[in-house]
């Protein structure tokens, strides 16, 4: 029992020092004058307007695209479903800023598609933010819809069919109510993602400045932490609202009791489904392909000869070292994050007391904190401490920033493991720790792999918090995309984006292999 208390204490202290206090110190910086002077700025008003308009539009588009994609995969009998599913989540493996950069490479002044189709309209501005935001947020929505549609019980549909209810009424009376809660969750998750991201609007926003970009400009470029804090606090509002809505909107419609999972055959809409999925794949792949052209051609569009000189030059500019830095950050964040999230979820899922309820609440609340807000809070709070501008603070920020999703993965898994195992251990005279290592860890190993992968992939591509925190050396590779683009070194930016994609794809592959091996071993 003593050990549990110690772990409890360590985790509580960790959350207080690395989450609560930094946030408080950021909020503490807000003054009435600072707030008023910011509000009076014309930039601010337009930023609020731009943020609301772009985010709402992008969220709506993203949700619709994702829903249709999930519908095609789960409700029609098209082939290659797993290939499509893998393609649809590919955008999750590259930083948001690379999506924006992909748009630039396709539709920019000298973009591939601009040149082919002689496009006149500039990508910079509202349209660019919209397209970029949709690109990187729709996979999240897709995964959420797919999970729910996959596990829908189909007995209701069969009963409706027997009763002679037509397809439209089946949809409105069964599917819509079933998806209502998921829809709300997806909407808020995507909205928060888009509002708080600054990678896309920073690169393709042009004159359309959003709140997150304004905050980035103020806090990072102008080192004006006071205005930054005010905007940070404002950005917290949608995130907190989204969190609260999601919190009271529990039970994502997944019935615990599925007699037959719905696999309804859709004959007539087969061709449209194929067209839609293939089109979506092309959209996902287009930037990747354009990146490849970009760094393998001597000088697009002037000299289109094949060359590897860009690769060599990019590596000479430090891409190799930065990549190594990022790998180290990602591995450290993944190891420490997985261990921390496991301990936390173990306490909340299997050692039930008043304290564990509070801990659970804190753990899922951390989801509501945008990366830029976390980054600024850390800068303000840790400014005069030895950890400031070191590798340690980057790893810590990643641990907290990406904590809640892996935490919830493990929380759900541990909740399903027989609750009497520790009791059995106690009665057999075997300590809790031994039972955890000998029985529970082997049981949840697959989830551990997934958590590790999640921390790794996200730490590899994050720019939000680390833009504030990363020391000049060792600097993570994702931050170079923006830097290269600003120096008009397009080939290098493309190459770095692809490097991150390659590493993350490799990691995903390793995780899948490990899980497969684990399933084999268990039998």
């Amino acid at each position: 029992m003593m050990r549990i208390k110690t772990v409890n204490f360590i985790i509580a202290a960790f959350f207080i020092v690395f989450l609560v206090l930094p946030l408080c110190s950021m909020l503490h910086r807000i003054t009435a004058e600072g707030f008023l002077s910011l509000v009076k700025m014309p930039q601010f008003k337009s930023a609020v307007k731009n943020t609301i308009v772009t985010s709402l539009t992008a969220t709506a588009i993203s949700v619709i695209i994702a829903f249709l994609a999930a519908w095609c995969l789960e409700r029609t009998s098209i082939k290659f479903k797993s290939v499509f599913a893998m393609m649809f989540v590919l955008p999750m493996l590259i930083p948001s800023i690379s999506h924006a950069f992909g748009l630039v490479s396709l539709f920019g002044a000298n973009g591939f598609l601009t040149n082919i189709f002689k496009l006149k309209r500039s990508i910079y501005g509202f349209v660019g933010i919209l397209a970029g935001s949709v690109m990187y947020s729709f996979p999240v929505a897709f995964l959420m819809f797919d999970g729910v549609l996959k596990y829908e019980d189909c007995t209701a549909y069969k009963a409706a069919e027997v009763l002679g209810i037509d397809a439209f009424h089946r949809f409105s009376a069964i599917t819509v109510p079933y998806l209502k809660k998921t829809l709300i969750s997806v909407f808020f998750a995507v909205f928060t993602m888009i509002v708080t991201d600054y990678g896309v609007p920073l690169m393709v926003g042009g004159k359309t400045v959003t709140l997150s970009v304004l905050m980035f400009n103020r806090a990072v470029s102008m080192i004006d932490y006071d205005s930054g804090s005010v905007i940070g606090a404002i950005l917290l509002i949608p995130a907190v609202v989204a969190f609260l809505v999601d919190f009271f909107n529990k039970d994502n419609g997944q019935s615990s009791f599925i007699t037959e999972s719905a696999q309804l055959r859709g004959g007539p809409c087969l061709l449209p489904a194929y067209c839609y999925c293939i089109l979506l794949c092309l959209c996902v792949l287009a930037p990747v392909v354009s990146f490849c052209f970009m760094f393998l051609e001597t000088k697009y569009p002037v000299n289109r000869e094949f060359t590897v000189s860009h690769v060599i030059r990019t590596i000479n500019r430090g891409a190799g070292t930065y990549l190594l830095n990022s790998l180290i950050y990602a591995v450290l964040s993944a190891i420490s994050g997985t261990v921390f999230a496991f301990c936390c979820s173990y306490l909340t899922a299997r050692v039930k007391n008043t304290y564990s309820k509070i801990l659970h609440l804190i753990s899922i609340t951390s989801m509501a904190i945008p990366g830029i807000v976390l980054g600024l809070s850390y800068v303000i709070f840790f400014h005069n401490t030895p950890v400031y501008s070191t590798a340690i603070i980057v790893v810590l920020a990643n641990m907290i920033h990406f904590f809640s999703s892996p935490y919830l993965m493990m929380y759900n898994t541990l909740g399903k493991v027989n609750m009497n195992l520790e009791s059995v251990g106690m009665i057999l005279g075997v300590g809790r720790l031994r039972i955890v290592f000998d029985v529970i860890v082997p049981k949840v190993r697959c989830t551990l792999f997934e958590m590790f992968g999640y921390f790794f992939v996200n730490s590899m591509m994050t720019i939000s918090a680390v833009a504030f925190l990363a020391p000049p050396s060792p600097k993570p590779v994702a931050l170079m995309i923006n830097q290269f683009e600003a120096q008009r070194l397009m080939e290098s930016a493309a190459f770095v984006s692809l490097l991150i994609l390659a590493v993350n794809l490799f990691m995903k592959g390793v995780i899948i292999l490990l899980e497969k091996r684990d399933v084999l071993k268990a039998s």
Binding site: V424, M426, I427, G429, V430
Partner: protein, 262 residues
Amino acid sequence: MEIFMKNKLEIREITKRFGDSEVLENVSFDVADGEFLSVLGPSGCGKTTLLRILIGLLKPDSGRIFKDDTDITDYKCDSRGMGIVFQNYALFENMTALQNVEYALKFHGKSKSEARETAMNMLSAVDLAEHSGKKPKYLSGGQQQRVAIARTLVLNPDIVLFDEPMSALDIAARLAMRKELKNLQKRFGTTMIYVTHDQEEAFSMSDRIMILDKGNISQIDTPENICRYPADNYVKTFVLDNLQAKIDSLSRFTSIGCNGKV
């Protein structure tokens, strides 16, 4: 017959509350050495709570527990000399049947080979020797149940508690298991306390039955005496009427017999 037997366990005025609701109210009873006592009651009557208090997983708010005249109320659960078999078995799924049974022995000062031998003997006792290398998911419900029993018995407890152990088994496995439990009890001389909500199960296996209603003991007596002299209306409706309904439905077949001959 209990009069001549020594008391193995004496429970004195156990009370347990969860928040405002009182789950057990001044519960006192004795269990004789080698007895098979069933605790019978509907869900929510406090029977599982009582079991968890007996084994030491829960602390009572007040009251004492004596085992062989020693007060064990404050003993840790692994030093009470008791074992428990849970409803869902709680087997270690990553280990084989044999590893499940030998696992705890290693923590009780046995060498690897000793542990293996003891565990194997125990598996033979529950008729599972040939399945010793299989993981739980390749065993039937009844076989998993027997692994759980072997895992408990291998540490030589003198009292074994059962928490609705047969609720997940089909009827054939239940009938087989009832016989097996009685055999094991004879063989090892273990005192058994068996929690169930199934009247038929309690009446077919027990030396005595304790009927719990909302945290109070309604009656504790032999099956025969409960049938003859139900203590109150609750015992009559919950226990005897239910039992009678089963007997009635079966009596249609008594003239036919179960071997198909008239």
